[in-house]
């Protein structure tokens, strides 16, 4: 944890410097007749971020934060596995949206999570994975009139069928 905290502070300090540099693409000072330039607000705030990082580093050096006094690892094997299986599945879920449509990706994600991570029965898994995306389709497309991504062209027959039901 101790090493992790100072590494994170370092990363955040670098990000603050990047934001300060990006802010200077617009004027960061006062322009007579126009007021503060477009970069003024983000530049000084990013400087505030950098100073906060320096203060956090100072606290770390003096051992004031709980993480700076801890010799435990950032996460054990279970933690990393969780991040991989759960966090990774969310990444795949979002990636699938452009391929199999939002509703297809919802169905696939629910199927994976309920069956393989939740170890629920086939009946419950299939019921939720099929009925929820259909319910969401009617809520968003028919009631709220919000169109979700339809993925690649092979999903079109499904959408044609569903739109025939709505309209």
């Amino acid at each position: 944890m101790r090493q992790g905290e100072i590494s994170l502070v370092g990363l955040l300090a670098l990000f603050s410097l990047y934001l300060m540099w990006k802010s200077t693409e617009l004027p960061i000072g006062y322009i007579r007749g126009q007021g503060p330039g477009g970069g003024f607000w983000p530049f000084w705030l990013a400087l505030g971020m950098l100073l906060s990082c320096l203060a956090s580093a100072w606290n770390w050096w003096r051992g004031l934060s709980p993480a700076s006094r801890s010799d435990e690892p950032l996460m054990d094997a279970f933690g990393w596995r969780t991040l991989l299986y759960v966090g990774g599945s969310v990444v795949v879920f979002v990636a699938l949206i452009s391929i199999v449509s939002m509703y297809g990706a919802v169905a696939a994600f629910l199927f994976y999570y309920l069956r393989f991570l939740g170890r629920h029965s086939w009946f419950l898994t299939l019921t939720i994975s099929i009925l929820l995306p259909i319910g969401l389709f009617f809520f968003f497309e028919a009631v709220m009139l919000i169109s979700m991504p339809q993925g690649m062209s092979f999903t079109q027959p499904f959408f044609d069928l569903m739109y025939d039901i709505i309209y």
């Binding site: 007021g35 003024f40 279970f78 759960v86 979700m148």
Partner: protein, 503 residues
């Protein structure tokens, strides 16, 4: 007496069968829209605006106002049950509503939210009825320096919200404000902070993207990792007797926050461009500051649920005031209502009270009826919302992920934003590991678009002299209070150190 007579006529108009039916439908629809992560009153009112052209303007505005009311009640539901604020106005409700749910007391949190919302709405309705013209002119005297001073006060309360690690809290606030500045400079119109030259950033980063990332994805990953997948803390039991006992407890332990929220919410709500979000946040901060047990805040204090919930309902009524009397919307939702009024052939402004008496008082009358309807409908649905928490966590967790992603897309309609939600979620998970408070960042991204232009306009007015925030009669005291609040944790720390050195 004249006011009472007008109000009685307005209430009778709201109770006409068609209008009453529209209130019931509007409140119910609003409740469910407000409960969906990513969708708030602004979505509900915008989407259903075209439907209102089928009915007369009186009924139309009553319907839309009922949706607005319902959504304000509904925002608390996802904050408590899912831990994701349904809308920016319900962010502060998450702080104590979620811990209560995790302690198996979701019913108490939801009942407290419903009762506080009712009181907030009622207080605002009475103030609205009595002081409409006077309050409107007071709010109009708020210029950019006064509004920026109010924002500064809101940020000062963040420092108090963030716990003991002040540098991490300040980092979180600054990060939220910088993220709010991504996109275009609204004054010069030039692209600004287009990070890593990715075009998607030109659209800016919406509040909901960060909120869903932090509270949807990040919070779930954190919960699963911390509990090792064995979440057993949410097993609420719902009975009528239990709800009555919760209502009694809510009144005993949430009354202070309710009154603070009701009053602050209304006065912040009537300020143009402020609205319910700063109102609910400031109410939470003030309630915590005035509390004898501030350490309970963030750990499941009913007062911590009551203050923001009373405030957001109170502010939503308050924000109608400048819309009706001056033609200035107090919030994004009232901006859409204003657009509707123009389409219906009405001219918002001071003459509206004289020329369209029936319309104005019918609307005010409907506030009272909608408030009662929202309380009853909300309480009736609480068992359904609490039932959601009894689901096994391995079913609830993927549902929350799905609602976060689909709600995030519904709010922004952009794949770029969906990827940002995932990145923010992962970043939030790691930042939380090292005790970075994330609520201040979410609240800062909401207030950033108000704070920056008011600061720049103020400095332009004063030719760059920051004393403009100190030498104006309203802005000055607010700024000084904000500075004292910012310095307070540092002063406390110094005193603690001195006391330790003495001992």
């Amino acid at each position: 007496m004249e006011v009472i007579s007008f109000l009685a006529d307005g209430i009778l108009l709201a109770l006409e069968p068609v209008n009453f039916a529209l209130i019931i439908i509007g409140v119910t629809v609003g409740l469910f829209i407000g409960a969906m992560p990513g969708l708030g009153s602004v979505n509900g009112v915008a989407i259903l605006l075209p439907i209102t052209f089928l009915v007369p303007p009186n009924s139309a505005i009553i319907f839309l106002a009922a949706i607005y009311y319902g959504a304000m009640y509904g925002g608390a539901i996802s904050s408590v049950t899912l831990g994701i604020p349904g809308a920016s106005t319900a962010v502060a409700t998450t702080f104590d509503g979620r811990p209560l749910a995790l302690q198996g007391r979701a019913s108490l949190a939801l009942v407290t939210a419903a009762l506080a919302s009712f009181v907030g709405g009622t207080v605002a309705n009475v103030l609205f009825t009595l002081f409409a013209p006077v309050l409107a002119s007071t709010a109009l005297s708020f210029g950019p320096p006064e509004i920026f001073a109010l924002m500064l006060l809101a940020f000062a309360t963040f420092v108090g919200l963030g716990g003991d690690d002040i540098p991490k809290t300040v980092f979180s606030i600054c990060l939220g404000l910088v993220l709010a500045a991504v996109g275009f400079d609204t004054i010069s119109g030039e692209p600004r902070l287009v990070l890593f030259e990715i075009d998607g950033f030109m659209r800016g980063i919406g509040f909901i993207v960060l909120a869903i990332g932090v509270y949807g994805i990040g919070e779930m990953l954190w919960t699963i990792e911390q509990t090792r997948g064995e979440v057993t803390t949410t097993n609420p039991k719902m009975t009528v007797k239990g709800m009555a006992s919760d209502a009694k407890e809510a009144m005993q332990r949430g009354w202070k926050g309710t009154w603070i929220g009701s009053l602050i919410g209304f006065f912040v709500g009537i300020l143009p461009a402020a609205g319910a979000t700063p109102g609910s946040l400031m109410s939470y901060g003030v309630a915590k500051m005035l509390s004898k047990t501030p350490e309970e805040y963030g750990n499941g204090s009913p007062d911590g649920v009551a203050a923001p919930e009373a405030a957001n309902n109170s502010a939503s009524t308050g924000s109608m005031l400048p819309m009706l009397t001056l033609g200035i919307p107090g919030s994004p939702t009232t901006a859409i209502l204003l657009g509707g009024m123009v389409i219906w052939g009405l001219t918002p402004g001071p003459r509206l009270f004289l020329d369209e008496t029936e319309f104005v008082w019918g609307l005010i009358g409907s506030f009272y009826i909608s408030n009662i309807a929202a309380l009853v409908i909300n309480l009736a649905f609480i068992p359904l919302f609490v039932w959601m928490l009894r689901m096994p966590f391995t079913i609830l967790a993927p549902l929350i992920f799905v609602l976060s992603i689909i709600g995030g897309f519904a709010a922004s309609r952009s794949m770029h934003d969906l990827w940002l939600i995932v990145i923010f979620g992962m970043a939030a998970f790691f930042l939380r590991k090292f005790d970075y408070p994330l609520a201040p960042a979410v609240l800062a991204i909401v207030l950033g678009p108000i704070a920056e232009p008011t600061l720049r306009q103020s400095l332009l007015l004063s030719s760059g002299d920051p004393m403009i925030f100190f030498n104006r009669p309203i802005a000055g005291p607010i700024t000084i209070i904000a500075i004292i609040l910012i310095l307070l944790p540092g002063i406390k720390l110094l005193r603690r150190k001195r006391a330790m050195a003495k001992n």
